[in-house]
């Protein structure tokens, strides 16, 4: 990739612009030029996404732009991944099952975290709002998740968060799935009290925690 700086710059710009079609076309051009998918991913996609995430953390760009960048990257990965799979490699940092706890239907904060995780290379399964503990667990099993991420803005949803940990302990799966929590009604003290493996106070911190929990 270093020998094709113009493709690298154009691909980065397509991600920043949220231009999915242009991004996919440029990814194909890069492959056609003989570049390895991992090289494209590591040297272009990852640093550009980090830039997008950093700018969002500083509120220099906003959620819609970040979501569009994430969409562009999905299209780019759709081009790169078949080649990677053929080489028995994966670009994903891990799988995160995310949702808002039962009783809570707020989604803006969860959308921010979901998008930040996606642009940082995680495969994210968003279960939506008002998710019962058993639904989290079922999805984590089915998708062989590395991390379960639970968002809660309402204090009355917190008993359901506790239920999830009780369920994981009862089934012997506590530790098999790492659980991180965040949202307006929780803090690090609560996270420690219930035995969460991680707590993220905002979307940027959620990425750091997810990386740690997924061992990346």
């Amino acid at each position: 990739m270093t020998e094709r700086p113009e493709i690298k710059a154009a691909l980065a710009q397509a991600i920043l612009d949220g231009d999915a079609g242009e991004g996919a076309a440029l990814a194909q051009r890069a492959l056609d030029a003989g570049l390895a998918p991992a090289q494209i991913f590591d040297e272009c996609v990852v640093p550009t996404l980090k830039d997008v995430g950093d700018r969002f953390s500083r509120l220099e760009l906003f959620l819609p732009e970040m979501m569009m960048s994430a969409e562009a990257v999905k299209e780019i990965l759709a081009v790169l991944e078949p080649v990677m799979k053929a080489q028995a490699k994966s670009l994903s940092l891990g799988t995160v099952v995310i949702g808002s706890a039962a009783g809570d239907i707020h989604d803006i904060g969860r959308n921010m975290v979901t998008t930040m995780l996606e642009i940082n290379g995680f495969q994210v399964i968003d279960l939506g709002g008002d998710v019962n503990p058993q639904v989290f667990l079922k999805a984590a099993r089915e998708r062989q998740a590395d991390v379960i991420a639970v968002s809660s803005l309402l204090t009355t949803s917190l008993p359901y968060v506790k239920d999830l940990f009780a369920m994981l302990r009862e089934t012997g799966e506590y530790g098999k799935f790492k659980v991180m929590i965040g949202g307006g009604s929780v803090n690090s003290e609560f996270a420690e009290k219930v035995g969460a493996h991680g707590y993220g106070k905002d979307a940027a911190e959620a990425v750091t925690v997810a990386r740690r929990l997924a061992g990346r």
Partner: protein, 458 residues
């Protein structure tokens, strides 16, 4: 105006509107739609002036919001359908919005009226923790302390952190108990304070419909209280929320609706959240038929609304609505800092001046420390908010802008640090229910500082 036939019309629209993918609604209608109307109507924040002084900008914000609502409507999460209205239907519904109502009872009755930008009448004060968590063992004392503040016209209750020592659980019998316990304790607090008739915003513990439906019944909160229904950010509702509205219409209760737009979220920056919040309040009037409305735009990580962008955005929204409709719109005061810090009082003052000059009918809160820590509230900041509101009444927006700039400079860039204050029992003496001397001294210092800036508090 509200009645059963209008309620049926809303419910019909909810069931027959176009099926819409939620992500499409978020991206095409909110994100792209807001961006489009912001550009079309030339809404612009200069980054330096926290109070809009341009009437034409306020009117353009209103027209942008009406267009946004006419194009995309509102989304019902329960059935995946959009509720839609034509521009004419929107304007007709807004014209019929009440501009006066009476809340509370006996000598605590208050007539609430629309205020407009630069209105000489002082805004009323809705004091209380605004849904923030309050320790159950101190709930009565905390509410009584707010109610006994003379400037507090109405109470907005806090949320019980436990009920009979147990964790409340959404959509369960525990939530019903929370609603009832909130009513029992708040009504007792009012009696103890000698202000039994004071109107209360309720039910703060109603995270779903069941606590509202149960506690707004015989022996619970009264018809003279004010019942809150929220919108889900951005521009969404659900069966749960419409259950509340339907129950409140049929019980003849006073409805107060609110929405909170997130800065940096789907609506984008300051200009986008100003338009989205204005549109949100229009939708509230369309779907819940409330008597009054409250707005707040929140910073995504600080969860306060006292940054320059948020002060400007909510102020513009207040101006847009009160210049172009009869709606009664309140301003939520949501500082990041906690009790017994000067930063808290600076934030409260900045928001109170900005929203008073922009036409807020009532100042609400403060939502101290952005409700991050249990019982980190004290009624002294509600008193201070009311004093600032009185002093700022009749002020021109140009004066308010200069004043807010000077006040904001005192906390600018500091809200991301350690701004945690102290809990209620450290700020107040639990026996006398009076603020502690150190907190009063801090308050007096800041009052003097405000006086030096030309804001004469009384």
């Amino acid at each position: 105006m509200r009645n059963t036939s209008r309620l049926l019309d809303i419910l019909d629209r909810m069931e027959t509107g176009p099926l819409t993918d939620e992500k499409d609604f978020d991206m095409k209608h909110i994100a792209m739609g807001v961006k489009r109307v912001v550009k079309e109507f030339g809404i612009k924040f200069d980054g330096a002036n926290p109070v809009n002084t341009d009437d034409d900008m306020a009117d353009r914000c209103f027209r942008a919001a009406v267009k946004l609502v006419a194009e995309g409507g509102a989304y019902c999460k329960s059935n995946g359908r959009c509720l839609r209205w034509t521009e004419r239907e929107i304007l007709e519904a807004l014209d019929a919005a009440p501009n006066v109502l009476v809340v509370g009872a006996d000598h605590e009755a208050r007539t609430v009226v629309q205020r407009r930008p630069e209105d000489a009448r002082a805004p009323q004060v809705i004091g209380g923790p605004l849904g923030g968590l309050v320790r159950e063992d101190q709930y009565l004392a905390t509410m009584q302390s707010y109610i006994q503040e003379p400037l507090v016209d109405m109470l907005i209750t806090g949320t019980l952190d436990t009920v009979y020592g147990r964790d409340p659980r959404a959509r369960s019998p525990w939530e019903i108990l929370v609603g009832w316990h909130e009513a029992e304790l708040a009504l007792t607090a009012a009696r103890r304070a000698g202000r039994e008739g004071i109107a209360m915003f309720c039910v703060s513990g109603a995270s779903s419909d069941i606590a509202e439906l149960s506690a707004t019944s015989y022996g619970g909160f009264r018809p003279t209280d004010i019942h809150m229904v929220a919108m889900i950010s951005e521009h969404k509702t659900s069966y749960d929320l419409l259950n509340k509205a339907t129950h409140l219409v049929k019980t003849g209760s006073i409805i107060h609706a609110y929405c909170n737009t997130i800065y940096g979220g789907l609506a984008g920056g300051a200009e986008g959240i100003a338009v989205a919040e204005t549109a949100g309040m229009i939708i509230l009037q369309l779907i819940y038929m409330p008597a009054t409305h409250a707005g707040a735009t929140y910073h995504p990580t600080l969860t306060c609304n006292t940054t320059l962008e948020n002060l400007w955005a909510l102020g513009l929204c207040l101006q847009a609505l009160t210049r172009n409709t009869p709606m009664i719109v309140d301003g939520v005061n949501s500082p990041a800092a906690g009790p017994m810090t000067k930063l808290l009082l600076y934030e409260v003052a900045a928001a109170a001046v900005a929203y008073t000059a922009s036409g807020a009918a009532r100042l609400m809160g403060p939502r101290t420390e952005a409700s991050k820590h249990i019982s980190h509230v004290s009624p002294l900041e509600a008193r201070f908010m009311g004093e600032v509101g009185r002093a700022a009444a009749g002020m021109s927006r140009e004066q308010a802008n200069e004043l807010v700039k000077q006040i904001e400079a005192r906390y600018h860039g500091q809200l991301g640090g350690d701004v945690k204050g102290v809990p209620f029992d450290e700020a107040y003496d639990l026996h006398t229910l009076r603020p502690r001397a150190a907190w009063v001294a801090m308050y007096d210092d800041v009052r003097d500082e405000m006086g030096a800036l030309g804001l004469a508090l009384r």
